[in-house]
Amino acid sequence: MAEQAHSDEPLLVTPLHAEHVALGARMVPFAGYDMPVQYPTGIMTEHNWTREHAGLFDVSHMGQALLVGPDHETTARALETLIPADIVNLKPGQQRYSQLLSEEGGILDDLMVTRSGDPAEDGKLVLVVNASMKEADYAHMQARLPANVKLVRSDDRALLAIQGPKAAEVMARLAPDTADMTFMAVKATKVAGLDVHLSRSGYTGEDGYEISVKAKDAVALWRALLADPEVKAIGLGARDSLRLEAGLCLYGHDIDTTTSPIEGGLIWSIQKRRREEGGFPGAARIQREIKDGAARVRVGLKPEGRAPAREGSIITTPDGREVGIVTSGGFGPTVNGPVAMGYVSKDVSAVGTDLHLVVRGKPIPAKVAAMPFAPHRYKR
């Protein structure tokens, strides 16, 4: 059996590293961090537990930062020169998904942008970016922000996610004021007596919260959440299968500098005012793609049989014409079968279209499928 080679570079650790090791996690290098890919029960059990109960994830490797300006309008306008979302009209206490764009309209990274609900925090935006891209993102933003808007790294904070149908009741036991939050709402509160900023969001398709906490309080928060019998620790392996079934993009795989938000099926994240006004990098291309459609688009793919089609599998028509490539693929435990997503030419992108995925040289029949593969269960 062939094993993957591991890099010898020194790895960073999160404030919860010792907790993972103590739980018996298998640790692997991920985006420069030594991270838990799974705990002893394995990816399948962790995946199913998250869909049925509540899974707890350490996502402290992700980049947390603040944009600090004199007032909301100024900070929001500065960020809007880099991303296509409407941040000026983002309401206090709300979070929005967006993308840092290149001048060509490619995606440099995807990110969450939060406006605090506290009037005293007016002029601040909280950003969460991908671990693998954070240094590049920060440099990119710092080079382009006006003098009166500063990027301040929040490297002293950890990030935990609790996800699953029981997440809300678990949280309500530790912080009753989190119960009435709706999807993408944010709040500053105390969980188990610890000061946190949290949002009702996540990366699994399930209801849940992402909780930002001071690094020094991370272990106490982790243990308080894990103490609930509904909660188990979940590694990056299940995080990937959960997000794939939820149809959510993984940066560097499903979206990157070569894909635009329109090709990536992320038009919903560009609000009407920005579509019309433009004023973000690559606006000309993106507005053209909004009007005329993109030549290729990201679609869900459901292979027949049980063989997973992995990232990099070529997509052809049944008569062998190459029409695209798989960007994420694997086994979906909730679907109980293989699932994938990838980019295909627009003419073969309709749901139900018969295609082939080439796996180890053999064509596997597949259909273009609607995403998500597992229904989203967000609290609206």
């Binding site: 990816i43 399948m44 997973p308 694997g330 435990p333």
Partner: protein, 124 residues
């Protein structure tokens, strides 16, 4: 009944001039939940070290190599519908394929049970 192992964690259990090939219990634990096994065609001739099968876990695909040369006599059709059998019983019901061993002297170059367990200890 003799079982021999490779350092790539395949085993071959010798039964007369045939060999039952699978992956070790250590290997299945390392892979995690097996969700698909691609098996060779019956009748195929495999050289020692050639790709014999592919085992897919939730996370990744891994090749399984022929521990000795031989002709595929039979494959474990149980794995088609219940690939998780590899996790439950790698050494038993979770076997992959049966080979007619063409060069029994190749077995001498493989690890004994004891040597393999030592090897696993040294890498874990």
């Amino acid at each position: 009944m003799t079982t021999r192992y490779t350092k790539d964690h395949e085993y071959v259990r010798v039964e007369g001039d045939a060999g039952i090939v699978g992956i070790s219990d250590y290997a299945q634990a390392q892979l995690g939940d097996v969700v698909f096994v691609e098996l060779p065609a019956v009748g195929k001739t495999l050289a020692k070290g050639a790709e014999a099968a592919v085992v897919e876990s939730v996370k990744a695909a891994s090749e399984v190599y022929a521990p000795v040369s031989g002709e595929v006599l039979e494959v474990n059709s149980l794995l088609e519908d219940t690939p998780g059998t590899v996790n439950e019983d790698a050494a038993g019901r979770g076997w992959f394929l049966k080979l007619r061993i063409t060069n029994p002297s190749e077995l001498d170059g493989l690890l004994t049970e004891e040597q393999y367990q030592e090897f696993v200890k040294s890498i874990s």
